[in-house]
Every structure is written in structure tokens, then in C-alpha cells.
């Protein structure tokens, strides 16, 4: 009888411990997923602002349609990748593809800003200025969202790998999460080159 009680108590304590670990992992996983959705929200906001910016700019720079088309195309690609990645944030290949598209869009926007420098009348336009301020702040937010995502991923991965929660993580299939980074070296280099050309 006594042994049964002791064993029962032990099982209960152990079970409670495992449940605690499991819940902790779930919490961390949700945190990083939520952090990803924050990036998603801010990226979406950015992609919505860009067409407005392009439309407003078109009135001033007739001859630069190539730059504008490049921005629009990069934006559309990035938007598609974003939708795909948002549907399944744990798939690291999708996240990587989005990061690549983002980098491409970044370089297109860089070129756009350079061209804009040549048109002082654009900078004087109030609505253009508002849009540009808005875009700058949104870009900051994207940066902070990515940082928060990295922090959350780090916490989740640490929790996943630490003993004893790694046992729970292995049993219940908590897969590792990926950082929002460009892994393709080639991609990074093209970003640099395009800036050099623009300058």
C-alpha cells in the first residue's frame, strides 16, 4: 500500500514535471511564431507603402521607369514569398527565400533612393515626404521585429536543446527554428555590387 502511494506520488511529480517542460516549450514556440508574425505584419505594411510611393514618384520621374519597375517587381516577389512563409513559419527554406527576396527589394529601394536624390522637387512634395518618413520608421520596425524574432528563436532553441527539456522536445517533435538570415553568400554579394553601381 505504502509503496503504491510512493510510486503513485513519484509518477505524479514526474508527470507534472514533464507537463511543465512541455508547456514551457510550447510557450517558447508560440513566442517565436508570434515574433515571426510581427515581422510579417511590418513587412506587409512596408509592401503596402511601396506602391503608394512608386505611384507618387511616377509623376516626377518619367525617365526612370526602369528603376520603378525594378522596385515594383522586387516588391511583388517579396510579397509572394512573404505569403508563403507566413503560412508555414517553421519551414526554414521558405523563410530563407523570403530573406533573399527582402534583400533584393532592399537593394532596389536603395537604387530608388539614389535616383530620388536627383529630383529635388520630389523631396519637396509633402505627401512624398510623409510616405518616406513612414517607410523609414517601418523599416526600423522590420529591423526590430527581426531582432525580436532572433531573440525568441534563440530562447526557443536553447530551451529545446537544454537537458532535460531536450528529451521532451525530442519525444514531441519540437523542431529547431531558423534565424531570419540570408544564407546564400552570392545573394549578399549582389547587394553590395548594386550599391556600388548606384553610388
Amino acid at each position: 500500500m505504502l509503496t503504491a502511494i510512493i510510486v503513485g506520488a513519484l509518477v505524479l511529480v514526474l508527470g507534472g514535471f514533464v507537463v511543465g517542460l512541455y508547456n514551457g516549450l510550447v510557450k517558447r514556440r508560440n513566442e517565436f511564431k508570434n515574433a515571426f508574425s510581427q515581422i510579417d505584419v511590418q513587412l506587409q505594411r512596408r509592401y503596402e507603402l511601396i506602391p503608394n510611393l512608386v505611384e507618387t514618384a511616377r509623376a516626377y520621374m518619367e525617365h526612370e521607369s526602369e528603376t520603378l519597375i525594378k522596385v515594383t517587381e522586387a516588391r511583388n516577389t517579396a510579397e509572394k514569398k512573404r505569403e508563403a512563409a507566413a503560412a508555414n513559419p517553421q519551414d526554414s527554406s521558405l523563410v530563407g527565400a523570403l530573406a533573399q527576396a527582402e534583400a533584393k527589394l532592399g537593394s532596389a529601394m536603395g537604387g530608388f533612393s539614389m535616383v530620388m536624390e536627383n529630383y529635388p522637387e520630389i523631396k519637396a512634395d509633402q505627401s512624398m515626404r510623409d510616405l518616406h518618413d513612414e517607410l523609414t520608421s517601418t523599416e526600423n520596425r522590420v529591423g526590430f521585429a527581426r531582432q525580436a524574432y532572433s531573440d525568441a528563436v534563440m530562447r526557443y532553441n536553447t530551451a529545446r536543446e537544454e537537458f532535460p527539456s531536450n528529451v521532451v522536445a525530442g519525444t514531441f517533435n519540437f523542431t529547431a527554428a531558423d534565424l531570419f538570415e540570408i544564407e546564400n553568400q552570392e545573394m549578399r554579394e549582389t547587394v553590395n555590387v548594386s550599391f556600388k553601381n548606384a553610388a
Binding site: 508570434n34 526600423n140 526590430f144 525580436a148
Partner: protein, 607 residues
């Protein structure tokens, strides 16, 4: 700053204090019970400590009632939503986006930090009539929270510093400090109520005549006051740890420790009498960005915030130096001080680092002559002493070397003065290639012993000897050992804070200033001026003629050598500025700066 580690450690110690607070509360109630029982035993109402008399029960009931009622009223008070509380503190809601540039900036900063901290965005309020730099958060419920920023913070901080301050508040939110603070306040409210009930019995005026109410009122007041005092002490200790935690979190969110430190420095330098003159500041203190500077050791125990300087040191122990570097970059030639070194710098003859004259190159062409040149550098100007020096060399080495040294000194004396540095580097270059390390070590040892024996070991000769030692690649023994542990070298973990190395820097500074050849009555003034750039602590000026100064100097170099490269560079750079300040580089100055740069492993050109 490794902010994740800092967060972990301050979180852990704050939990200890939190636990202590709860234990203290339980102890307090136990003591109250025992005291009441003992009292009734003393008065003869009961026979045993363990059996309460009806009177004792009544008193205990009063105490419990007071605690519960007090807590409840406080609960009603703090339960209100964030916006309501913010308004009660006199804050007004920030206007819509895009209306005023500074409020627009605040909107953006708060949104960005909310994302970085993964928190919902709180309402934004501004304390328009508060002109100190401050901010706090209120509202226990996640959906109704407000961040309140003082107008002073908006006016005085730049965007990055504002971001740091807002990040600090988000640190409080993210670590759940608002509910913890609320619960502590509720418990404190209970203790305070005991005191207040005691006051009902005694009356507010202490000088009134004795009456029966004192019998019950005084013990109650005593009990309440002691309880409140202890609870406040623990709460303050807890709160100080949470401030470090929030600071570390702010750095995590903004990834910008320098902005955090410079915001704190602005608070430190604002010199206002009393921040947050609101009548509720006591309750709020825990969640504020700062509570002003605390002077006495006594009040430091009760302060909810650590001293500002301590917070800056936690974030970046070398902020003072970096701040100076920043200021120099921003306003290089604005003030009258810099006028002195805008003048073209003229070097005294003997300090040129130019090319080697042909006569030297011809004469110093083999290993023995290189060796002789090194000894020749130290030959005294006085003929008698010079003769002793030759003899000593002959005694220690060979008469041949002694003769060679003599020859070098007589034929090259002008060049030795004029091109000392380049001659040394030429000779050491050769010796380094051609002589074994062991023999070079022996050479250095003998050279130094010779100088000590001959009484020629003044600061300048010491500096030259160290320069030779460095160029011969004969490292200081201790520094060798330090350099072996390369991983530990100059990492943030073993970096001392600036003030703890103040004495070492002060020593180097005073030697530097002494070497400048300024009139002796001016030395003190220059020295204190230079020291002020680094620290507020007053270190006495040292002099190169003090006995045992070299030993201290070597110790100082060891301490400073393990500091991060940029700190050492900044210091040497400052010494170069001092050197150029009078528009004239004295020979002694040149040697001393060479010594500093070599001993601190800084490149003079880079610095």
C-alpha cells in the same frame, strides 16, 4: 555588455529579495502575535504564552483587520487602468500621429520598442509640466497600460537616447514588474494601516498628555513602523535589481548600450533639485526611469534605484572615455582650449623621428656597434659620471665594449641627441634579427642593472630602456603571461570600471604633464584639468622623482594593459593632445609618450 547574462543575474538576485519580502511579512505577523500574547501574559490576562486571552484576541483581530482593510483600499487604488492612473499623475495623452515632430518621434520610438520587446503597444502619455528626464509605466492589465514620458525627456534626449529610456520602461513591462510592484504596494498598504490605526489611538499630536489610548496605540504604531521600515528596505533592494534588469533589457531591445549610457549620463548631469514632484512619486518610484541622485549612505538603502553612475558602469564601464572620444569627434575645434594645439607644433631638436643620418648608418654597421649604441644612449652629460659609466660597462662586459661605447659617444654625440629614436629603432632592428632571445633578455637585465647602479635610472632613461626592451621583443614577464591567456585579454568580463583604474591613469597623466616642461606652478592646474576629462574623483598628482615610482608604473601598465584596445588608444591619444597643447614637443615628452604607447601596446600613429 552581455545583456542576456546581466538579465539572468539581476533576475536571480531580485527573486531572492522577493522571497525575503514574503518571509519578512510572515515573520512580522508571527512576531505581532507573540508580542500580543506576551503582553497579555505580563498583564496577567492569561497564564500561558500559547493561550490567548480575549483581549489579546481582540487586538490580534484589530491588527488583521487593519492589514486586510489597508491592503484592500490600496488594491482599489492601484487596480485602475493605466490611462486613468496616468491622467491622475497629471499626464496628457500624446496627440495623434504626425501633428508635432517630437510627439511623432515618441510614437515611432514606442512602436518600435514594443515590437523589439514583443509587447503590445501601450497608450502614450506625456507629463507636460515635468522638465526633468523621466518616464514610467502604469496599468496592471496588459490591455490597458500606459507609458508616461516627461516633456524633459522629449526635449533633451536625442532619438536613440529616447529609445533607450523607452526600452527601459518596456523592460519593466516585459519582466512583469508592474504586477509585482502592485502586490508589494498592497502588502505595504496593509502594514501602513497598522500604523494608522495606532495613530487613531494615540492621536496625531505626540506632545499631548498621556492618556489610555497610548497603551494600545504606541505598540501598534511601533509594530507598524518597524514593519513598514523592513518591508521598504527589502522592497528597495528588490527594486534596485529590477532596475539593472530593465537597463539590460533596454540594451537588448535597442542593441545600443552607448545610447543607454549617454541617456543616464544626461540624467546624471542635469543637476535638478528633485525629479518627479508629483505627490505619488513614492508609489511610482519603482517603475520610473530615475529618481534623482542619492547623497547619504543611509538613504541609499531606501532608494528604489541604484546610483546613476553605477548603472552607467554596469552598461559600459568605459563610457567616460568613449563619451570623450565622441565629443572630440563632434566638436573638434570649437572651444578656446583647442586653440593651443591648433598652432603648428614645433618639435624640440632631438625629438624628430626622421631618417637615420649617414654618419650613424656608416658607423653602426655590425652587431657589436649596435650594442654599443644602445649603451651610448644612456651616457651622462657630466664628464665625471660618464667616465664611471664606461668603467662599469667594462666591468660588467668587456673593456672592448667599453671602448666602443666611448668611441660612439664621442663621435656621434650630436646625432645621438638629435636622432635618438630612429637610432634606437635601427640598432634594435638589427639586434633583434641577429641575437638570440635569451641573450637579448640578458642584455636588458644587465642594462637596467647598470643604470640602477650608476644612479641614472630617472624617468626618461626608464622610458628609453622600456622602449628598447619593447623593440628588442623582450616582453615584460607578466605581460607575457597575460598575453598567453589571449582569450581573457580585453574581454568585457575582466574589464574594470573606469574609476577603479583612476589611480593608474592619474599616475600616467601626472608623469606626462610633468614631462611637458611647463612651469612647476602650472603643473597642478594642467593636471587637474586633464584628470577632469576622465573622472570626478580627485587623485593626487604624482611626481617622477618619488622613490619607487617605477615599480608602481609597471604595476599600472599591467593593470591597463588588459583593458580593451580602444580604451588604451583613447588614453594615449589624450596624452598626445596634452603633448601638443603648448605647441611644442619637449624631448622628455617624446620619450614618455613613446614609453606609454609601447607599454600599452598602442600604435602611436594609429592613436
Amino acid at each position: 555588455m552581455y545583456f542576456f547574462g546581466k538579465q539572468r543575474s539581476s533576475k536571480a538576485s531580485s527573486h531572492v529579495f522577493l522571497f525575503g519580502f514574503v518571509v519578512a511579512m510572515i515573520m512580522f505577523m508571527l512576531v505581532a502575535h507573540v508580542a500580543v500574547n506576551a503582553f497579555s501574559l505580563l498583564l496577567g490576562y492569561t497564564d500561558s504564552m500559547y493561550v490567548s486571552s480575549p483581549q489579546a484576541k481582540a487586538i490580534v483581530a484589530i491588527i488583521w483587520f487593519a492589514v486586510i482593510a489597508g491592503s484592500y483600499f490600496r488594491y482599489l487604488d492601484v487596480r485602475k487602468g493605466g490611462s486613468a492612473l496616468a491622467r491622475r499623475f497629471g499626464a496628457t495623452m500624446a496627440s495623434d500621429k504626425g501633428r508635432f515632430p517630437d510627439e511623432n518621434r515618441l510614437h515611432n520610438v514606442v512602436s518600435e520598442m514594443a515590437i523589439a520587446a514583443s509587447c503590445p503597444r501601450p497608450e502614450i502619455y506625456i507629463l507636460t509640466n515635468e522638465h526633468t528626464i523621466n518616464a514610467f509605466v502604469v496599468g496592471s492589465k496588459e490591455e490597458d497600460r500606459a507609458i508616461v514620458v516627461s516633456q524633459g525627456a522629449l526635449d533633451r534626449l536625442d532619438r536613440e537616447e529616447l529609445q533607450a529610456v523607452v526600452g527601459h520602461e518596456f523592460g519593466h513591462i516585459a519582466h512583469g514588474d508592474i504586477p509585482i510592484n502592485m502586490r508589494l504596494l498592497i502588502l505595504l498598504g496593509g502594514l501602513l494601516a497598522i500604523d494608522e490605526i495606532g495613530q487613531l489611538y494615540t492621536g496625531k499630536d505626540w506632545r499631548r498628555d498621556w492618556h489610555i489610548g497610548y497603551l494600545l496605540g504606541l505598540p501598534l504604531r511601533l509594530l507598524g513602523s518597524v514593519g513598514v521600515l523592513t518591508a521598504n528596505l527589502i522592497r528597495a533592494a528588490f527594486s534596485r535589481q529590477r532596475e539593472f534588469l530593465a537597463d539590460a533589457s533596454a540594451v537588448q531591445y535597442s542593441r545600443n548600450p552607448l545610447a543607454m549610457a549617454s541617456a543616464l549620463a544626461k540624467v546624471r548631469d542635469q543637476n535638478d533639485d528633485e525629479p518627479m514632484q508629483s505627490r505619488h512619486s513614492g508609489e511610482l518610484a519603482h517603475l520610473c526611469f530615475q529618481v534623482g541622485s542619492v547623497q547619504t549612505w543611509f538613504s541609499r538603502f531606501f532608494s528604489s534605484h541604484p546610483a546613476i553612475q553605477k548603472r552607467i558602469d554596469e552598461i559600459d564601464p568605459h563610457f567616460a572615455t568613449k563619451e570623450r572620444a565622441l565629443q572630440r569627434r563632434e566638436a573638434p575645434k570649437a572651444e578656446g582650449v583647442s586653440l593651443a594645439w591648433q598652432q603648428p607644433v614645433t618639435r624640440e631638436s632631438g625629438a624628430t623621428r626622421g631618417a637615420l643620418p649617414d654618419s650613424v648608418a656608416l658607423m653602426v654597421n655590425d652587431t657589436p656597434s649596435c650594442l654599443a649604441v644602445l649603451f651610448a644612449v644612456f651616457a651622462s652629460d657630466a664628464p665625471g659620471k660618464r667616465e664611471d659609466y664606461y668603467n662599469a660597462i667594462g666591468f660588467a662586459y668587456t673593456p672592448l665594449l667599453s671602448a666602443q661605447v666611448k668611441h660612439v659617444v664621442t663621435s656621434l654625440s650630436a646625432d645621438l641627441d638629435e636622432h635618438r629614436t630612429s637610432i634606437i629603432s635601427y640598432a634594435t632592428d638589427r639586434l633583434r634579427k641577429e641575437v638570440l632571445l635569451e641573450n637579448r633578455q640578458k642584455l636588458m637585465k644587465n642594462l637596467e642593472r647598470l643604470l640602477v647602479v650608476e644612479g641614472e635610472f630617472d624617468l626618461i632613461n626608464y622610458a628609453i630602456a622600456q622602449l628598447i626592451r619593447r623593440q628588442l621583443d623582450v616582453e615584460f614577464l607578466v605581460i607575457d603571461q597575460l598575453a598567453e591567456k589571449e582569450g581573457e585579454l580585453a574581454t568585457q568580463t575582466n574589464v574594470k570600471t573606469f574609476d577603479s583604474m583612476g589611480a593608474e591613469f592619474a599616475l600616467l597623466l601626472s608623469l606626462m604633464i610633468e614631462a611637458s616642461g611647463a612651469p612647476s606652478e602650472k603643473l597642478e592646474e594642467y593636471y587637474s584639468g586633464a584628470l577632469r576629462c576622465y573622472t570626478k574623483v580627485k587623485h593626487p598628482r604624482r611626481s617622477g622623482s618619488e622613490p619607487g615610482i617605477y615599480k608602481e608604473l609597471e604595476k599600472a601598465f599591467q593593470t591597463l594593459y588588459v583593458q580593451p584596445q580602444n580604451i588604451r588608444d583613447a588614453f594615449v591619444q589624450h596624452c598626445v593632445e596634452i603633448m601638443h597643447q603648448d605647441g611644442h614637443v619637449a624631448r622628455a615628452e617624446d620619450s614618455v609618450i613613446g614609453l606609454f604607447a609601447a607599454s600599452l601596446d598602442c600604435n602611436l600613429v594609429a592613436a
